[in-house]
């Protein structure tokens, strides 16, 4: 019964969204306050209704109501409660409902918080949100209904893919979607601004906050996904340039570009058209990401062609949203656009250069991800675009970007002087060089590319810290005395840049300095890797809630004689008839020791794989710093 309630709630939401869109635009067009006031209320109502729908679906999963098709296909009575709940968004239909729910959440949040903004602007933003909502609710109801039932109900569900039964992956989709969908508000702001024919400083301050919030969620979501891949997929890879990863990386890159161009618009009143275009493109890429992952087009163009209903519907949503927005954009002018002059050596030029780099990076990922699909669709054959391509095209773009990045935050608006740059960056430059050399001497390997990358990481970290300290001016008043006076956006920007540096450091450690050993061992055998010695003791059988596992005991001893027991597992999930490997990871900031239990050989010996991943933790530490930086940025609006 509750499933029907949920289904009904989705239908009602669709109607409410239709009303919100029509009355919002009509009211704004005719200047009727009473009509426009309907929009915020409708937005809150949408949230309430979709909350009911979401709760109904989760109830179906928790109570294992296998008459619901999604529950039968993605759950099992023995599954732990957390994964029953998370299973409700770990499938196509449920995840689309969550998409719509988060969209409603952003709409309602904006409706409640935006009381200070002009009513006509609020109405237009919310009406645009409602249009997007309409598209997705229609998609859910017509092609992907999570509340569809079968009769007779199956006796048992088919279970959830075991590699998805993981805490990080339970949280990954909500975070990622909170990022994707957050950019819908930037999109709606862009539409409203184009209809208004002006961009106020208020507009820029507001849209910057929402973009930052979405960016924080997206950063956290991508980082969590990468962390999951690291410990779950069996050897410690953290980024695979997989189309699904790329789908989330594109809006991240475009959204990062937007965060930078909005600074110029907020502060100087130019680049308005470019900023608006970026807002549209960022959300477009979020939609394209959803399309890529949800349409099945990635598995094969032909799978998509055989069951095209979903893909065609999402393509239609994308075409309508992007096409409509770009049509509006082609004629958009902004009454208050300012043309101020600036030089190459200025903050404006630096931010523009940042945008050129990030836009190219976005385009590279876009081309690399979609090229095989295009080639296949045109009947020119099948090709693969993988990590070697991105290493050859994407990374060369990153190098000059990271080298010039530290200049941005120290340049003055309009026109900067070399003297000022020297004063700000000479010390961090020297410090970065020394730090890179120090690192190399510890590692005692000579590789020019690694040295260059190390210098890049150090350069980012040192210059950010130096710029931050200079802004704090701690020589005059202690650290905490000044912290409140520095604009939060300065703290946020420099922290985020330092986060990139930390992440780069982690990437260098995990790719250039990684070492591995793969051996076949019998109980009592010793394994050597770097300064560590491992003794393989035994494999025992362990029973989990919905799996049985083989668990190895490996005793690790480091150079100082400290010991630690590692217990990697191989799990067999009987319901899903599949197995997963659970790596055992000994965590230190300086390195992870990563042990995996492999297969059993014919002579009874076990394959054990052990990796040392130096500095790998810095990848996610850097992401964490970036998210925290975003938190700082949320505090600051205009000065």
């Amino acid at each position: 019964m509750s499933a029907e309630l949920g289904h009904f709630a989705v239908i009602l939401t669709l109607l409410v969204a239709a009303v919100q869109a029509c009355i919002g635009f009509a009211g704004a067009g005719r200047g009727r306050d009473a009509w426009m006031l309907v929009a915020p209320r409708a937005a809150v109502l949408q949230l309430g209704l979709l909350f009911v729908a979401g709760a109904a679906l989760i109830r179906g999963f928790v109570t294992s109501d296998f008459s619901l098709n999604v529950v039968a296909a993605n759950s099992h009575i023995d599954k732990p409660l957390l994964y029953k709940i998370a299973g409700s968004w770990g499938n196509h239909e449920g995840s689309m409902l969550m998409w719509a729910f988060i969209l409603a959440l952003y709409g309602a949040l904006f409706a409640v918080l935006s009381g200070r903004l002009p009513l006509i602007f609020r109405a237009r933003v919310l009406a645009t949100q409602a249009l997007v909502s309409l598209g997705f609710l229609g998609f859910i109801l017509f092609t992907s209904n999570p509340f569809a039932r079968s009769f007779p109900a199956p006796f048992e569900g088919r279970g959830l893919n075991p590699i998805l039964q993981d805490p990080a992956l339970a949280a990954h989709p909500p975070l990622l979607y909170a990022g994707y969908v957050g950019y819908s508000l930037c999109f709606s702001f862009a539409i409203a601004a184009m209809l208004d024919r002006q961009i106020s400083t208020d507009w820029a301050a507001w849209v910057r906050r929402w973009a930052l919030l979405a960016w924080m969620f997206l950063t956290a979501g991508i980082a969590l996904g990468s962390f999951w891949a690291y410990y779950e997929l069996g050897w410690g890879g953290f980024w695979f340039w997989d189309p699904v990863e790329n789908a989330s990386f594109m809006p991240w890159l475009a959204g990062t570009a937007f965060l930078h161009s909005i600074k110029v618009t907020a502060r100087q009143g130019h680049f308005m058209r470019w900023t608006v275009l970026l807002a549209i493109l960022t959300f477009a890429l979020s939609l394209i990401g959803t399309f890529l992952v949800r349409s099945g087009v990635l598995t094969s163009v032909h799978a998509f062609a055989n069951d095209p209903a979903r893909g065609v519907y999402i393509l239609a949503i994308i075409a309508a949203t992007i096409g409509g927005a770009l049509a509006l954009y082609s004629r958009a002018t902004f009454a208050n656009e300012i043309e101020k002059s600036f030089q190459l050596l200025s903050r404006e030029a630096a931010l523009l250069l940042n945008n050129i780099f990030l836009a190219t990076a976005t385009a590279t990922v876009f081309i690399g991800t979609l090229y095989p699909l295009a080639i296949d669709a045109l009947g020119l054959g099948k090709i693969s675009v993988g990590p070697p391509y991105f290493a050859a095209v994407f990374l060369p773009l990153c190098i000059p970007f990271f080298v010039i990045l530290p200049f941005g935050p120290v340049l003055a608006w309009g026109r900067a002087s070399w003297l000022q740059i020297r004063r700000a960056l000479a010390a961090p430059l020297v410090a970065a060089l020394l730090a890179a050399l120090a690192f190399m001497s510890v590692r005692a390997e000579l590789s020019l590319s690694v040295l260059a990358a190390l210098f890049g990481a150090m350069w980012l970290i040192m210059s950010s810290v130096a710029t931050l300290l200079a802004a704090l001016d701690i020589r005059r008043a202690g650290l905490w005395g000044r912290l409140g006076l520095v604009p939060p956006s300065v703290v946020a920007g420099n922290l985020a840049h330092a986060g990139i540096g930390l992440m780069l450091l982690g990437i260098i450690g995990a790719t250039a300095w990684r070492s591995e050993t793969v051996v076949a061992v019998a109980p009592g055998d010793r394994i050597q890797l770097g300064g560590y010695q491992f003794v393989f003791e035994a494999v025992s059988q362990v029973k989990g809630p919905n799996y049985v596992a083989e668990r190895a005991r490996i005793v690790m001893r480091d150079l100082d004689g400290r010991t630690k027991t590692l217990t990697p597992e191989k799990r067999i999930y009987s319901a899903e008839r599949s197995q997963t490997t659970e790596a055992a990871i000994d965590v230190k900031l300086s390195r992870h020791i990563y042990a995996v239990l492999g297969e059993q050989l014919e002579d009874g010996r076990r394959v054990i794989r052990i990796w040392e991943h130096p500095l790998v933790a810095f990848i996610w530490l850097g992401a964490l710093v970036m998210v925290l930086a975003g938190g700082f940025g949320l505090r600051g609006g205009r000065r």
């Binding site: 997929l233 050897w235 410690g236 890879g237 695979f240 997989d242 189309p243 598995t299 043309e339 101020k340 002059s341 600036f342 030089q343 190459l344 030029a349 523009l352 050129i356 780099f357 836009a359 190219t360 385009a363 590279t364 081309i367 090229y371 080639i375 020119l380 054959g381 099948k382 090709i383 693969s384 675009v385 993988g386 990590p387 070697p388 391509y389 050859a392 095209v393 773009l397 590789s447 250039a512 990684r514 070492s515 591995e516 050993t517 793969v518 051996v519 076949a520 061992v521 019998a522 055998d525 010793r526 394994i527 050597q528 890797l529 770097g530 995996v596 050989l601 394959v607 794989r609 990796w611």
Partner: protein, 129 residues
Amino acid sequence: MRAGIVSLILYALILPAAALTPDELIPDPALEGRARAISAELRCLVCQNQTIDDSDAPLARDLRALVRQYILAGQSDAEIIAAVTERYGDFVLFRPRLSPQNYFLWFGPFLLFAIGLFTLWRILRKTRS
């Protein structure tokens, strides 16, 4: 060997492999390093998006063996990749060929970057005058 210390430390910079078993490895680390580098370029044809070193699939195992067989036979990296492509088609290559059909894939990003820089230059010139 069995009772003693079993150790096989390969170089740093050697590429990772999640599915490789000890009996597949070439004892000479330099040759094994080459095998890993080649494997990183080759896609397991029956998997979603895995290199042949990362995949448990029998086909990937066969390809790994084939690559090592060619290496031991003294063929160059380019010859091996060409031979594998001959047999399995372009789909096996993670690094697409530089053929006219792929020109935009390879040069598009750099072209876009150049257009971006040109635009910046024009804006700077316009605002100066």
